[in-house]
């Protein structure tokens, strides 16, 4: 349906998007995963034709849309990371305004606005001014505006940033429902691994402007089929202990979250004995050790050497 071929963008000789290949098939939900600054938002701007690429192509039904993006824009809804709404207008006024921008006929518009208000759960607040809304409600309306013209593809750029868990769940359920019930194709970017795991059929992992891995959740986890993740909880994270672990030949990656040190090691090697030995040498108290099945987070750590929210 939508194909992105070797898409690149440079700003002042710095490549922010580097030869990205990506495709979306009709009706699927695809995740674009990467830490802040990975180039996800720029990739979205390139796909949605807001920024012209330095190289590569964006093809809709096998036709390039770079020179005339109108055909893509007609079937595309974009949910930007920012709340792109008129804060002094009500929810309904915002939806009507953007509906008019999309040239939806009056006879259809009011009904469509009601439908969208139902989808995003703001029917009872339709007349309230947006600036009085909570963060979660604004995010929902932000999605609603992207849905007003009944798009076939929707691109969501971190639509759950900075909201409470309840609103986040509502949004995730809404996206799932849109995909399942209305067969809308979704490209969902996030740096929340669990969101992508919950929603997406396929995942692209992006770092430093490049796609570094792609596939289904299982395919990605298989990257770590030969490795094991060990979580070591210590009383106090000591620098020399961490350095000693890093310098150990069998430890492929290491990350620290509060007092838990996660190391990726080959499956066939028994590292537990080694870890306790290093801890003793550096007078570090180990509180617990867990061997865990690799998650996508571990895959990301394995591929990039850092965590998603670094």
């Amino acid at each position: 349906m939508l194909e992105i071929i070797k898409l690149s963008k440079s700003y002042k000789q710095k490549k922010v998007v580097d030869s990205v290949n990506l495709h979306l098939d009709s009706g699927e939900t695809v995740g674009l995963l990467g830490p802040n600054g990975a180039g996800k938002s720029t990739t979205i701007s390139l796909i949605s034709s807001l920024v012209s690429p330095s190289g590569g192509d964006v093809r809709l039904h096998n036709e390039s849309i770079l020179k005339s993006p109108q055909s893509l824009r007609e079937i595309l809804g974009v949910v930007p990371q920012e709340i792109a709404l008129y804060m002094d207008l009500s929810a309904r006024e915002n939806l009507v305004f953007f509906g008019k921008m999309h040239r939806i006929p009056n006879s259809r518009l009011q009904k469509r606005v009601d439908e969208v208000l139902e989808i995003i759960g703001l029917k009872d607040r339709e007349k309230d001014i947006v600036k009085t809304f909570s963060g979660g409600m604004k995010r929902r309306l932000n999605i609603g505006v992207a849905l007003i013209h009944e798009p076939k593809i929707i691109i969501m750029d971190e639509p759950t940033v900075g909201i409470d868990p309840q609103s986040r769940n509502y949004i995730l359920e809404t996206v799932k429902k849109l995909n399942r019930e209305q067969n809308i194709t979704v490209l969902y970017t996030s740096h929340y691994m669990e969101e992508v795991e919950f929603l997406c059929d396929r995942i692209y992992i992006m770092d430093h402007g490049q796609i570094i891995a792609s596939g289904t959740k299982e395919e990605l986890k298989n990257i770590l089929s030969q490795e094991t993740a060990i979580n070591v909880k210590v009383e106090l994270v000591k620098h020399d202990f961490v350095e000693a672990l890093k310098n150990h030949g069998n430890i492929k990656n290491l990350s620290i979250q509060q007092s838990v040190i996660t190391v990726i090691v080959p499956k066939q090697v028994n590292m537990l004995k080694e870890i306790f030995k290093i801890a003793e040498e550096h007078t570090t108290n180990v509180l617990s050790v867990n061997i865990v099945t690799p998650t996508l987070e571990d895959v990301f750590l394995h591929l990039t050497g850092r965590q998603l929210r670094d």
Binding site: S45, L50, Q70, V78, E82, A84, Y86, E93, M101, I129
Partner: protein, 421 residues
């Protein structure tokens, strides 16, 4: 789509009381303060204070004596001689002009005349609003025409009037007086043919017509002046406010959303133009409506008022589009701040919104008349004074020129991609 952009802009404005206060209440307060505070100074002044130098090369007394002698030696009956001598003795055009017309109480209030016999240096010429040259042998030729009864079309030496600035009220007054007087000269000759006492007719008619001409250009009181001055100044603030809203739309990625709805950048900017045009139209009409109700500042010709208002709205809208285009290209909110805190006050000052630049005269007065705000201000004042639309041609040209230049520059800035990123 334009209707939606205008409606949205109206709703946003309505829900932001701070902007409403600045754009509607503030000018009204300033009109009240400036009108009452400076009214005492301005209203006491005589608005017209024309200075005329009369370069008198003619000797009317000698010409009169020469004409009388000629009649005495002419082959005429005694009755005819007496009649003609009486006529010539009673009618001395130069003397009537210098000692009767311009010495009337009404004209002395507005016109100061200095009679000189030698040419003036350039420096001296600058002291006067007009220089009237009465050529040598004017009176002699004039009397010849009267004696020989060769009709009313005079071929005698003509009075030459040079004015420093055609557009100033002072120059207009001088031109009116001289033109009226010359008209009376022709009337006098006709009367002479009909053997009417033309001396009396000439002097009384000249006075009346000169005064009529003066009163036609109504004086501007302080409230009228500052009503126009503040409205013209604050209409530019409407321009910057709309531009500020527009930039906010870019900052908050709403502009990108609108582009994604397949709205072309040019259509979007045309929407900003339409919104600024409509809002400034409402603003001006509310402000002028209020000043009419509270201070009785009215425009005698509503069509002229509407013509200027629409032209000014067009210029304001272009101004708004221009600021938006620069801020979109530079990606900076500072652009709007610079315009609202620096450029608009400069334009208001140069346009004469704070005080009447004609009191300074010269270059500043000229700048005032053709600067964007000054042109509109001058045109509005001319409507109040009772001038015709034709008299405002220069002001309309200036307004249309600025509108065109601003729109062209905006189009070049927006370009094909609409300054999206």
């Amino acid at each position: 789509m334009f209707f939606q952009l205008i409606k949205k802009e109206l709703l946003v404005m309505w829900r932001r009381p701070r902007e409403l206060i600045v754009l509607l209440l503030m000018p009204f307060i300033l009109i009240t303060i400036l009108g009452s505070a400076l009214g005492a100074f301005n209203d006491g002044d005589i608005k017209v204070d024309a200075k005329l130098a009369v370069l008198l090369k003619d000797d009317p007394k000698l010409a009169q004596e020469k004409a009388i002698k000629e009649i005495q030696h002419a082959a005429l009956s005694e009755e005819e001689k007496t009649q003609k001598i009486a006529m010539i003795s009673a009618f001395n055009p130069v003397d009537i002009f210098l000692n009767e017309v311009i010495e009337t109480k009404e004209l002395k209030k507005v016109l100061k005349v200095t009679v000189v016999e030698k040419g003036l240096s350039l420096k001296e010429q600058k002291k006067y609003d007009g220089i009237l040259e009465i050529p040598a042998s004017f009176s002699e030729q004039f009397y010849q025409k009267l004696i020989n009864e060769k009709g009313t079309e005079g071929t005698e030496g003509k009075w030459k009037l040079a004015v420093a600035d055609n557009t100033s009220v002072n120059a207009t007054v001088i031109q009116d007086i001289v033109a009226s007087f010359q008209k009376e000269m022709n009337l006098a000759k006709t009367a002479q043919q009909l053997q009417v006492d033309y001396g009396k007719i000439a002097s009384s008619q000249t006075k009346v017509s000169a005064i009529e001409n003066l009163t036609k250009k109504k004086e501007i009181d302080a409230f009228s002046y500052y009503a126009v001055g503040m409205c013209v100044m604050f209409v530019f603030y409407m321009g910057t406010t709309v531009a500020d809203f527009a930039y906010q739309q870019k900052e908050e990625h709403i502009y990108e959303r609108i582009l994604l709805a397949n709205v072309s950048p040019f259509a979007y900017f045309a929407g900003i133009f339409a919104a600024a045009f409509f809002l400034s139209f409402i603003q001006l009409n509310v402000l002028f409506g209020l000043t009419a109700l509270v201070y009785g500042v009215t425009f005698p010709n509503i069509m002229y008022y509407l013509c200027i208002t629409i032209a000014l709205n067009g210029m304001t809208a272009s101004f708004s589009v221009f600021i938006t285009a620069i801020s979109y290209v530079t990606n900076s909110r500072n652009v709007e701040s610079i315009f609202s805190s620096l450029i608009v006050p400069i334009l208001a000052f140069a346009g004469g919104s704070f005080f009447d630049l004609s009191s300074i005269g010269g270059f500043m007065e000229r700048i005032g008349e053709i600067s964007p705000g000054g042109a509109a201000l001058t045109a509005y004042l001319k409507v109040i004074q009772g001038f015709s639309l034709y008299d405002m041609t220069e002001q309309f040209q200036a307004i249309f020129l600025f509108t065109g230049v601003l729109l062209l520059a905006s189009m070049m800035l927006v370009g094909k991609r609409g300054a999206a990123r």
